[in-house]
């Protein structure tokens, strides 16, 4: 907006004079306000509550770092932490699995759209349903898994009731929809692969694995980055499957930090907001490592442009 050259300056309001500088901030205000109230403020609130002993109903009592001290000696905390690491590592299998299904489906055959939708299906249904389906699948007496194991003469395995298998069992259930998610990311990525480069590589004699590793995967880097981000976040958010399939059991062996936090602070038997907040802070610090890495790599990318 340019003003008429002969308009007298005193008549222009402060807003008019600073319009260009102020307007973007005005547009940002609602978003920033929401972000402050619902994201930033609760983070500091959690830090604060983690220093208190509070049942959520009565008056809180300041206890300093006692909750963290107790966390340090709590075996259930280490079980949850170990399970969180297992989730983080094994959940990443969804990325290669998704890539190979995407490569497999990336062809023109009659009805390929139908096959693609079927492979994508597990991601569309609710996590609760996935949890129930796998609970029945694993059922030690009538579940499909044990029926199949029975055909080859293997004894019944009580996947969800056995402390050694339970976390792997739940991760396997979680991988089912997560693989579908990664697959769809790679399918869109494959559409953007430059056919001329593939042609050129073919003329140079690249085939099979070499073609995949040196020509296709480098071009899929943006898709891989997104798949990595959503999978890490998905692994750290693994709450609903655990709640549905085992309720943290048997004797707390399948808990992760987020579930333990819920149990301690919000469930039937727990009213310890301070202790729950301390767990939340630890979980936040773990997430912060990943968030910092993601932000850093995005920043690097932008600078390189």
């Amino acid at each position: 907006m340019t003003s008429a050259p002969d308009a007298p300056p005193p008549h222009r309001s402060w807003y008019k004079r600073n319009e260009i500088a102020v307007t973007p901030w005005l547009f940002l205000v609602p978003g920033v306000a929401m972000f402050l109230v619902y994201v930033i403020f609760p983070i500091f609130q959690s830090f604060n509550i983690s220093m208190q002993e509070w049942d959520g109903l009565g008056a809180p009592e300041y206890v300093g770092l006692r909750n963290y001290r107790e966390l340090w000696d709590d075996p259930a905390f280490y079980t949850s932490l170990r399970n969180n690491l297992l989730w983080l590592l094994l959940y990443l299998l969804a990325i290669p699995a998704g890539l190979f299904i995407a490569l497999f489906l990336n062809q023109t055959v009659t009805g390929i759209r139908l096959y693609k939708s079927l492979f994508f299906f597990p991601f569309v249904i609710s996590q609760v349903v996935v949890g129930l389906v796998f609970t029945w699948f694993y059922d030690p007496t009538f579940g499909l898994l044990n029926t199949i194991l029975g055909w080859v003469g293997l004894g019944p395995v009580n996947v969800l009731g056995d402390p050694t298998y339970v976390t792997y069992g739940i991760i396997a259930a979680g991988l089912w929809p997560q693989t579908a998610y990664c697959m769809i990311l790679y399918l869109t990525g494959l559409n953007a692969v430059d056919p001329e480069q593939v042609e050129a590589a073919r003329l140079d004699g690249a085939r099979g694995w070499k073609m995949l590793w040196y020509v296709i995967i480098p071009q899929l880097k943006p898709a891989t980055f997104i798949a990595f981000v959503v999978t890490i976040i998905g692994a750290l958010r693994s709450f609903d499957l655990i709640s549905i399939m085992t309720n943290g059991g048997p004797f707390g062996e399948s808990r992760v930090l987020s579930f333990y936090m819920f149990e301690v602070a919000l469930s039937e038997y727990g009213f310890r907001m301070g202790y729950g907040a301390a767990i939340a802070v630890v979980l936040f610090l773990i997430m912060l490592c990943f968030i910092a890495y993601f932000l850093w790599s995005m920043y690097k990318e932008q600078k390189a442009r």
Partner: protein
């Protein structure tokens, strides 16, 4: 798992049918009455809906809104709705489980109801369970015995009879195991079923007073008396008396083992009778015995949990809520809702009659004459919620890995020192 049963239509129908002749309680109640209930299993749900219908027919101007919430989910939701969105009437449990809400001032003091002649004289037996800090915080609507429910036909088939001592119990169990039948079915996914076993083994090994001391945090978990309880439990575990894979099942999911004859009995509350009957076990096939004596000379004590109704402190229509509580505990209603076809449990009102039902009569006789040691609520109602959680997790772990006992007891003792 949640549904809303809305009654304005029914209330209107009832109003037309009774044409205003039903103002039995003196003044007319009006406005809304919001009830949140955890009676979500099929039989209790029908009872709750029936009570609302009948109460609505008595008070045609009252608009009753009943919300039935899944029983397990209710236990976590109650904290939210008592503080934020309080109904006028809510279900809960007696004894220490009321503690957090009473301390936080979220339940209404209903001592005035208990001072009324009708309630004071007829509900005296449960007054203690409803009292904290010398005041009453709700009314009971039902209680039930615990004990061993067993397949009579299987016992007959292998020539067994109801045991009365620990030695007979184990001998019976061995015979069953030799015939490929597990002695007990149990589902420990939600932990409290293991709490029932601990309660009974503890009360038979050490008696009621030790149960009270332990749940009040006055006895140590590393005490030799606690070890004696686990030693008895271990005898059953070493025999392989319990079904395999019990950690994967809820108690409902553990019942088919009994109905299909793969397990012979279950230690459970009387609420298990209804689903077992629905699954085809009639009274010739299903029977009941009191948990056996373990240490001779210890007075027998029983678990008999009491379920309750309360008025939240933030309720909007407390007049109507009090009227509903009076209606719930009235002798006629108690007789009706606790009958064999309905809840199949014991009425709390001394003026009601116990239904002519095999299990109810046996349970009533057991609690009134064969339980000299006292009546406990249940492990997770007598102990504070936090302690109950840690302990019952320990019981479950013990049932799977009995060798971890030392570590478990040490953990429980650490928790006890922190919690009390």
């Amino acid at each position: 798992m949640r549904s809303i049963f809305n009654t304005p239509a029914l209330a209107v129908a009832a109003a037309v049918a009774l044409s205003g002749g039903a103002f039995a309680e003196g003044h007319a109640l009006s406005g809304d009455l919001k009830i949140f209930s955890d009676m979500s299993n099929p039989a209790p749900r029908a009872v709750m809906e029936g009570m609302v219908d009948r109460f609505g027919a008595m008070h045609p101007d009252l608009n009753i809104e009943l919300t039935v919430i899944d029983r397990e989910a209710y236990k976590t939701q109650i904290r939210n709705f008592l503080t934020a969105n309080a109904p006028d009437v809510a279900n809960w449990y007696a004894a220490n489980r009321m503690g957090p809400y009473v301390d936080a001032g979220l339940f209404e003091d209903v001592s005035d109801l208990w001072a009324e002649e009708e309630i004071a004289s007829n509900l005296a037996s449960t007054k203690g369970a409803m009292t904290l800090d010398g005041k009453q915080w709700g009314v009971p609507y039902t209680y039930y015995q615990w004990g061993v429910y067993y397949r009579k036909d299987l016992f007959d088939q292998y020539g067994l009879s109801e045991p009365t001592t620990w030695a007979e119990e184990k001998a019976n169990c061995q015979t069953l195991l030799d015939n490929g039948v597990k002695c007990y079915t149990i589902g420990t996914k939600f932990l409290w079923t293991a709490g029932g076993w601990f309660d009974y083994l503890n009360m038979r090994t050490n008696g009621y007073d030790f149960h009270a001391a332990l749940t009040n945090g006055e006895a140590e978990w590393t005490d030799d008396r606690v070890r004696a309880v686990f030693a008895n439990w271990r005898e059953l575990l070493d025999m392989g008396a319990f079904i395999d894979n019990h950690t994967a099942y809820s108690w409902q999911e553990s019942l088919p083992f009994m109905t299909q004859g793969q397990a012979a009995s279950i230690l459970m509350g009387n609420f298990a009778v209804a689903p077992l009957r629905d699954a085809g076990l009639d009274d010739d096939k299903l029977d009941f015995y009191q948990f056996v004596e373990i240490v001779p000379g210890i007075a027998r004590a029983e678990d008999a949990p009491t379920d309750t109704f309360h008025i939240p402190a933030k309720a909007a229509n407390k007049d109507a809520a009090r009227a509903f509580l009076r209606f719930v505990v009235s002798a006629d209603n108690q007789t009706l809702i606790n009958s064999g076809e309905n809840l199949g449990q014991l009425p709390v009102n001394a003026g009601s009659s116990v239904d002519d039902d095999k299990f109810l009569k046996e349970g009533f006789a057991m609690l009134s004459s064969n339980s000299p040691g006292g009546v406990a609520q249940f492990f997770d109602r007598d102990a504070p919620a936090e302690m109950a959680k840690v302990a019952m997790e320990g019981f479950q772990e013990f049932m799977v890995r009995p060798d971890n006992l030392d570590a478990i007891l040490k953990r429980l003792e650490t928790a006890r020192k922190r919690i009390y």
